[in-house]
């Protein structure tokens, strides 16, 4: 075991995969000479050279589309978005080309590509740099959507995403690049569609993913433990494919559910998970599912307002109390 930051774990994943497969390359804004806007690709230009690590102009639609065309013709691009807020410039490429090519061509062209970069709010970045996009991408057939909440998962899932033959939206968070965690030594991957229980419990299931596992779900569970409430924290890790069975197993044990996400509430990922729980575990529920999300507001700048929009530990604890009727 090595103790690594998530930044270094992601770097290791890319470095190992590029060393393993010469068809894998990295492209994006500032990924090379600048060593990455958030230093995730630090040292990769020096190690692999400009034939494998490409700095681009600020042209998201252009390099996203270029990556998809490269994937159609046998390469395996890793396309870094400086943030997924900028990927909206490339949404036509991702949705109309990457996601649909395999079906449109009757299965002739697959698109093995990873779009990766930070997603969601950071700290007072205002409306155009703070959106969460899991539900956007998860709605599109043809895409896979992956998140992680610790360094071990970050590395194992990114390696799997790079090896996958379909387009993968790999959502990171600039707030947790420095978060340390144990990473297994040697080669390992984590399959898509397999979640993990991050904290076992018996009284309530808290479903969370990405940075909210470490920032909200686990701290809330600690607080709740002091009140004698044992919360089970379930991280599906990949939004699509979704590990329903892991969720259902937990719900059948605890009978109470709180879903925590940073997406807007309307048509959030929690809406889909709730529907599946109601359909498959209706008789197991002792309370309606509660959702803790960002409010449906374009993110304001002021600290007080940003805090009022984003989910927080207090709102998670309140939701847990509600489903427990305490």
């Amino acid at each position: 075991m090595a103790n690594l930051s998530i930044r270094d774990a992601l770097n290791q994943a890319m470095t190992e995969e590029m060393a393993r497969d010469p068809m894998v390359f990295l492209m994006g804004e500032e990924v090379g000479a600048y060593n990455g806007a958030y230093k995730v690709s630090k040292g990769m230009l020096a190690q692999f050279g400009p034939q494998r690590v490409y700095d681009t102009p600020i042209t998201e639609g252009g390099f996203a589309g270029l990556g998809i065309g490269a994937a159609m013709t046998g390469l395996r691009p890793i396309i870094e978005m400086m943030t997924f807020n900028f990927a909206l410039q490339a949404i036509d490429q991702i949705v109309n080309n990457a996601a649909k090519m395999h079906l449109m061509s009757g299965g002739q062209f697959c698109i093995p590509i990873v779009f990766r970069g930070p997603n969601g709010a950071a700290h007072m970045l205002a409306a155009q740099h703070s959106q969460s996009f899991e539900s956007f991408y998860a709605q599109v057939p043809g895409l896979k959507v992956v998140t992680y909440s610790d360094a071990k998962d970050a590395k194992g899932l990114l390696k799997t995403a790079i090896r996958d033959d379909d387009p993968v939206i790999f959502l990171e968070s600039e707030m947790t690049y420095g978060q340390q965690g144990d990473v297994p030594d040697g080669e390992y991957t984590i399959p898509l569609g397999v979640g993990e229980v991050k904290r076992p419990g018996t009284d309530v299931t808290i479903i969370a993913w990405s940075k909210l596992v470490g920032q909200l779900a686990l701290p809330a569970a600690e607080e709740l433990a002091k009140m004698g409430i044992q919360a089970e924290v379930v991280d599906p890790r990949t939004i699509k494919p979704l590990d329903e069975e892991l969720i259902f197993d937990s719900v059948r044990k605890t009978n109470r559910v709180v879903i925590v996400e940073e997406n807007f509430k309307f048509c959030g990922v929690g809406s889909e998970i709730s529907e599946r729980i109601y359909n498959r575990c209706f008789d197991d529920l002792d309370a309606p599912v509660e959702r803790v999300t960002s409010h449906d507001v374009p993110m304001p700048y002021a600290h007080s307002l940003e805090s009022a929009v984003l989910p927080n530990v207090g709102r998670v604890i309140e939701a847990v109390k509600k489903v427990l009727y305490v």
Partner: protein, 348 residues
């Protein structure tokens, strides 16, 4: 009267006598392919009227010289991709008429197994990277295929076609910039048929010499008479040779569609006059080549009649075979969403 654009300053100019260097066999091939496309499209129009083809259907009639001349200048391992007006390009690249018609009818024999339809013809074996439905959306894909060729150290070239309507789209400009910056082996071919749907090119830009837009990106460019298959072939050949050496190029091919934008658009509605359409019909690319061949004693009236008879019979047979193919089984509706499928409700 419409502005008749003829070949002017061409950055990649070729000596005219090269036309005569083409063999009779080559010219015959051009004529045959253009006739095949014309016949296939006329049959498609009929079939559309009979309700055998769904959705949108954009005919290539009038623009045959561009697809036939340009694709003839490629190698089989080069890549070709185009817009939703793709039936003619698919045929020029070598997709069999039965597979094109089968796709139009939504049958399993179709080149995209009935999943793509009129706008989305694909053939991986022929390096035909598709017909694409979003104006300007596929230009970056072609640029990516060229990147791929260079990345692997190959000398394969991409021929990326689009209409003049795409030239005002960000995808065009972003792609030309990247291709020029990185010296990618690609020829961008603008089929300037003068109208983006019903909007004349003069109503869309102050710079109507579209090929000059490439100057912003330090890219070689030229204008080609897209009604003359021999000129299309020669200029494409030169541009492709340049691209193979790492010099991308932008060719504007002036042409004209004799039919409406799609089947719902009449031949000449309020945006263009009957006289204009008739004027361009005098430059029909099939007519031009036929006259050229007759004038040089390369084809007789008997050979011409025989060619027409053969093509007509071939397309009719293809139509029958396509209609005999079944529609895709509804049980296969979830096929091809993923290469590595997600199986709902299962773990591991």
């Amino acid at each position: 009267m419409p502005v008749k654009k003829k070949a002017e300053a061409v950055a990649v100019e070729a000596p005219k006598q090269q036309k005569l260097a083409l063999s009779k066999q080559q010219l015959f091939h051009f004529l045959r392919q253009m006739r095949q496309i014309r016949s296939l499209e006329e049959r498609s129009a009929q079939a559309y009227g009979q309700g055998k083809i769904g959705g949108f259907c954009h005919l290539y009639i009038g623009q045959e010289a561009v697809a036939v001349g340009a694709v003839a200048a490629t190698r089989p391992d080069d890549y070709v991709l185009t817009t939703y007006r793709d039936h003619g390009m698919a045929l020029a690249r070598g997709i069999q008429p039965v597979a094109i018609l089968g796709e139009l009818f939504g049958r399993v024999i179709g080149c995209s197994k009935g999943r793509g339809g009129s706008m989305h013809m694909f053939d991986k074996q022929l390096n035909f990277l598709g017909g694409h439905g979003i104006v300007g959306g596929h230009i970056a894909l072609g640029t990516g295929a060229a990147f791929s060729s260079k990345y692997r150290g190959e000398d394969r070239v991409v021929l990326c076609f689009f209409g003049e309507g795409a030239v005002h789209n960000g995808g065009f400009h972003e792609s030309l910039n990247l291709a020029s910056l990185w010296g990618l082996p690609i020829v961008f071919v603008c089929e300037n048929n003068r109208y983006g749907m019903g909007t004349a090119v003069e109503r869309t830009t102050k710079v109507v010499d579209l090929h000059k837009k490439a100057e912003s990106y330090g890219m070689a460019h030229g204008i080609v008479n897209g009604m003359d298959v021999l000129e299309v072939y020669e200029q494409s050949k030169r541009a492709i040779a340049g691209a193979r050496a790492g010099i991308p190029c932008f060719l504007e091919m002036t042409c004209y569609r004799f039919r409406g934008h799609s089947m719902s658009d009449p031949v000449h509605s309020h945006y263009r006059t009957k006289e204009e359409v008739e004027c361009y019909r005098e430059q029909d690319p099939i007519l031009l080549l036929t006259e050229h061949m007759k004038n040089h004693g390369l084809i007789t009236d008997e050979e011409l009649s025989e060619l027409e008879r053969q093509v007509s019979a071939e397309i009719r047979a293809a139509m029958d075979a396509a209609l005999a193919s079944p529609e895709p089984d509804p049980a296969t509706v979830f096929d091809y969403i993923y290469k590595n499928p997600i199986r709902p409700g299962t773990r591991r």
